[in-house]
Amino acid sequence: MPNSKSAYSFSNKKEKFDTHIIVVWVDNEAGVLARVVGLFSGRGYNIESLAVAQVDEKLKISRITIVTTGTPQVVNQIKLQLRKLVPVHKVADFKREDKAVIFKEMALFKIVGPNNKLEGALKACKKYNPVLLDKTKKSNVIQITALRREIDKMSKDLKKFGLVSVSRTGAVAMTRGADIFK
C-alpha cells in the first residue's frame, strides 16, 4: 500500500466545471458583503466577478450577483450555504448558457490618440451600444455594455487605437419575459 502519510483521503476524480451566475438578495446591513464573500473564500469557492448594490431603498434589500465556477455539487453547496446566512432572503442560480436570462457587464475605455484612432475605436465598439461619455481633442471615454468575453475581446482589440485604461463591472443578470425570480 502506498503510504499517503495523511490523516485525510484524496480523490483523484476530475469533474467538469460549469460557470454559474448566482444572484443573492440580502438585507443591506453592515458586514453582509463580507459574510457572502467570506463564505466563498472560506469554503474554497471561486468568484469570477461580483456586482452589488441596494435595489430596494424602503426594504433595504441589496442584490448581489456573483459569477462562479464549480462542479454541480459545489454549485449546489454554494446555494445551500448562502441560504443559511441570516441576512439572505433568496438565492437564484443561472447557468451562463441559459437563454432565458440576460447577462450584462459594463466597461469604460479611455482612448488617447489622434482623431482617426479615436474614431476607429468608437467604430470598433459599434456592436456593443457605445456611449461617448467624454471627449477631448486627444482622448475619448467610451462606455459599452456587453458580455464578459466580448469585453475581454474589446480590451484587446482597442489596444491598437490607443487604449490606456479599462474599468469594468461584474456581471448583472435578469430573467427575460414578464416573470421574476421568486
Binding site: 500500500m1 502519510k5 485525510y8 483521503s9 480523490s11 453592515a30 458586514g31 463580507a34 449546489n76 441560504r83
Partner: protein, 588 residues
C-alpha cells in the same frame, strides 16, 4: 412613560426573559458596566473561569448536557480572541452558544484603541451569525434574536458585540417577540411522500443499517425515545457516530458500536456491505466515511438532516429528508404503524442472513486488547471506570486523542446528553472546562472528564474554577506521557519518528491537585485500580486522578488513511496471528 434601562441592564433583562440561569465569563475593561449590573439580577449566576476559552467550553458542556443554550460573557480584544476556539468548536459540533463580548466605545472603533479587535470580523466564519450593536435601541431585539438563531434549526454559536458606551446608554426594554420567522427559513421541508418512500425502501431492504449522529441528541430527549422505538420496531442494526453516542443504548444487542476511523469491525463492515443506509442526524464526516469513492458502494442512502446544506455535501444520497429528527421520526413511526403494522415480523426472515453476517463480524471482537498484570492498559482503565460508575447516572466529557476514542469504544452510554466530546474541531483541552459546565448544570450528578495528560494541561487552570464553585468534577487522566494519538500516527505513518510527541517534563498531577486545593489520586498497577477509582468516586471534591497507563498502547481497530470501511487494521492480537511483531507494527 415606561422605565428606561441602561444597555448593561438590558443585557440581563434579556437573559432573564430567555431563562438564563448561569453564565460563564471573565471581566475586563470593555464589559465592566455589565459586570457592575450583575449583582442586581439574582436569578443569574456568574461562573468565573480562568481563561475565556474555558468559559466557552464550559458553556458548551452546560449546553450539551442540559439542552439549553450556553451563555458566555467576555471582554473586548483578548477576551474575544480567546473564546474563538470554543466558538469554532461549537460551530463544528452544532452546540447553541450565545457569546456577549464587550467592545471599545463606538467613537474609538477603528482607531486601534486599547484592547480593540475586529471581533465580528474574527468570529464571522465561526458563528452562525454575529452582531455589532451600534445603537442602544437595537440591543434588546438583537440579543433576543441571537438566542433564537443559536437555538433554532441546526444549533450553533452566535456572538453579540456591545461597545462600552452602548452599555451605559439608556432606552426602553422590549420583550422577545414570539415565533418570528427568520427570513421565512423553515426547518421541516419534507412531505409525506418522502416518508412513504423511506418506508418502502425499508421494507425492500435485506441488509439495512441505521447510522445516527449528533442530530438525534440535538433534537432533544424525545428524539432519542423515538429512535429507540423505530429501531425496535424494525429490528434493524444501528451504529452511531462519536457525537450520537447515548441516543441508543450502548449495551443493546441491536447496537453495533461506534463506526468510523476507530469504530468497531462490525459497524464499519455493515456500513460497507449494507443495501440501505439510513443516516439520521449525521453528516458523512471524513472520519466516518474513510475513502469517499469506496464508501458503502452498494447501498441506497437516505439522509435525514435539519440542515439542507448537509445533504449531498460529501456523499450523494438517494432520498433526502430535510427536517428535525424528532418530527421526521414521529412521522415515520406513525406511517409505519399504519401501513406495516407487522413490519418486525415480516422483516425478521428477510434480514436474518444479514444478522448472521453481523454476528460473524462481531465474533472478531475488534475492541479486544492484550491485557496485562503489570501495567494498566488504558482500555482496561476505561472498562473498570465504566463498571464502577454504570449504575450512577454519570456524565462523561473527554479531551481529544487516544483516550477519547477508548472512552467512546469502552464506555457504554444509555442516555442522551451524557457524553460531551469535541468531535468536529478536535479541541485538546475541551474536557476539563466542559466538565465544569456540566457540573454547573447538574450539581448532584457524577461528572468525569476522561482525559489525556497532554490535553488536560491545555486548560488545567480551570481546576481553580472547579474548586471555587465546589464542583466535584473528576479528572481521570490516562497518563502515558505521550501525545498518544500523535505518537500512534507517527508509529504507523512516519516510520516511528516520534517528533515532539513526548512530554519530558510533566507535572506531578497529585501535587498539582493539592496545589489547586483539590484531591490527587494516583494508580500505578491494575491491582490497585479499582480501589483507587472507588476512592475517587467517594470523594465529594474535585479530583485529579493520575492513571499511569501503558505508554505505547495503540488505539484499534482503525481505518488507515485513504482506505474504505472494509479494510480495517485490527488490534495487536490480529497482527500477532499474522506474524507481525509488536515492533514491526505498521501499515501493510
Amino acid at each position: 412613560m415606561s422605565k428606561l434601562y441602561s444597555g448593561a441592564e438590558i443585557v440581563f433583562k434579556c437573559m432573564e426573559d430567555q431563562n438564563v440561569d448561569h453564565i460563564f465569563g471573565y471581566p475586563g475593561g470593555a464589559v465592566l458596566p455589565i459586570y457592575d449590573e450583575l449583582q442586581n439580577f439574582k436569578s443569574i449566576k456568574h461562573v468565573l473561569v480562568r481563561h475565556e476559552q474555558g468559559a466557552g467550553h464550559a458553556a458548551e458542556g452546560y449546553a450539551r448536557s442540559s439542552g439549553k443554550p450556553g451563555v458566555i460573557l467576555v471582554t473586548s480584544g483578548p477576551g474575544a480572541t480567546n473564546v474563538v476556539t470554543a466558538l469554532t468548536d461549537a460551530y463544528m459540533d452544532s452546540i447553541p452558544l450565545v457569546c456577549i463580548s464587550g467592545q471599545v466605545p463606538t467613537h474609538l472603533i477603528g482607531t486601534d484603541a486599547f484592547q480593540e479587535c475586529d471581533t465580528t470580523g474574527i468570529t464571522r466564519p465561526c458563528t452562525k451569525h454575529n452582531w455589532l450593536v451600534k445603537d442602544i435601541n437595537d440591543l434588546a431585539e438583537t440579543i433576543h434574536k441571537a438566542f433564537e438563531v443559536a437555538t433554532t434549526g441546526r444549533p450553533g454559536p452566535v456572538l453579540v458585540d456591545i461597545p462600552k458606551d452602548i452599555q451605559f446608554q439608556k432606552t426602553k426594554y422590549s420583550k422577545p417577540k414570539k415565533e418570528k420567522k427568520l427570513n421565512g427559513k423553515s426547518h421541516n421541508q419534507f412531505n409525506q411522500n418522502s416518508i412513504d418512500k423511506l418506508i418502502d425502501l425499508m421494507s425492500k431492504s435485506s441488509k439495512p443499517i441505521f447510522y445516527t449522529g449528533g442530530g438525534v441528541i440535538n433534537s432533544g430527549p424525545k428524539a432519542s425515545e423515538l429512535l429507540r422505538e423505530l429501531v425496535y420496531a424494525t429490528g434493524f442494526p444501528i451504529t452511531s457516530t462519536l457525537q450520537g453516542l447515548g441516543s441508543f443504548p450502548g449495551d443493546d444487542n441491536q447496537f453495533l458500536g461506534m463506526l468510523g476511523m476507530h469504530g468497531t469491525y462490525e459497524a464499519n463492515n455493515a456500513m460497507h456491505d449494507c443495501d440501505l443506509m439510513i443516516n439520521i442526524g449525521a453528516r458523512f464526516d471524513d472520519r466516518i466515511t474513510g475513502k469517499i469513492d469506496e464508501f458503502s458502494p452498494k447501498s441506497k442512502k437516505v439522509h435525514i438532516d435539519i440542515d439542507p446544506s448537509s445533504i449531498n455535501k460529501n456523499v450523494k444520497v438517494d432520498l433526502a429528508i430535510v427536517g428535525d429528527v424528532k418530527t421526521v421520526l414521529s412521522s415515520t413511526l406513525k406511517s409505519l404503524k399504519q401501513k406495516k403494522s407487522k413490519f418486525l415480523k415480516s422483516n425478521k426472515q428477510k434480514t436474518s442472513k444479514w444478522w448472521e453476517k453481523i454476528q460473524k463480524w462481531r465474533s472478531v471482537r475488534s475492541l479486544d486488547y492484550i491485557g496485562s498484570e503489570e501495567t494498566i492498559k488504558p482500555q482496561y482503565a476505561i472498562e473498570r471506570l465504566y463498571e464502577l460508575t454504570k449504575d450512577k447516572d454519570s456524565y462523561i466529557t473527554t479531551e481529544v486523542g487516544q483516550h477519547q476514542m477508548w472512552a467512546a469504544q469502552h464506555y457504554k452510554f444509555n442516555k442522551p446528553n451524557r457524553w460531551m466530546t469535541s468531535g468536529g474541531l478536535g479541541t485538546m483541552g475541551y474536557g476539563l472546562p466542559a466538565a465544569v459546565g456540566v457540573q454547573v448544570a447538574h450539581p448532584k450528578k457524577l461528572v468525569i472528564d476522561i482525559a489525556g495528560e497532554a490535553s488536560v494541561l491545555m486548560t488545567i487552570q480551570e481546576m481553580s474554577t472547579a474548586v471555587q464553585y465546589n464542583l466535584p468534577i473528576k479528572i481521570f487522566i490516562l497518563n502515558n506521557q505521550y501525545m498518544g494519538m500523535v505518537r500512534q500516527w507517527q508509529e504507523l505513518l512516519h516510520d516511528k519518528n516520534y517528533s515532539e510527541s513526548y512530554t519530558a517534563a510533566l507535572p506531578d498531577f497529585v501535587k498539582l491537585a493539592e496545589a489547586y486545593n483539590c484531591v490527587g489520586i494516583r494508580a500505578k498497577t491494575p491491582e490497585e485500580l479499582d480501589d483507587k477509582i472507588i476512592q475517587m468516586l467517594n470523594t465529594d471534591r474535585p479530583v485529579i486522578f493520575d492513571c499511569m497507563v501503558d505508554k505505547v498502547e495503540n488505539c484499534f481497530p482503525m481505518i488507515p488513511s485513504g482506505k474504505p470501511h472494509n479494510q480495517m487494521i485490527l488490534g495487536p492480537k490480529d497482527q500477532e496471528s499474522k506474524k507481525i511483531t509488536g515492533k514491526g507494527k505498521s501499515l501493510v
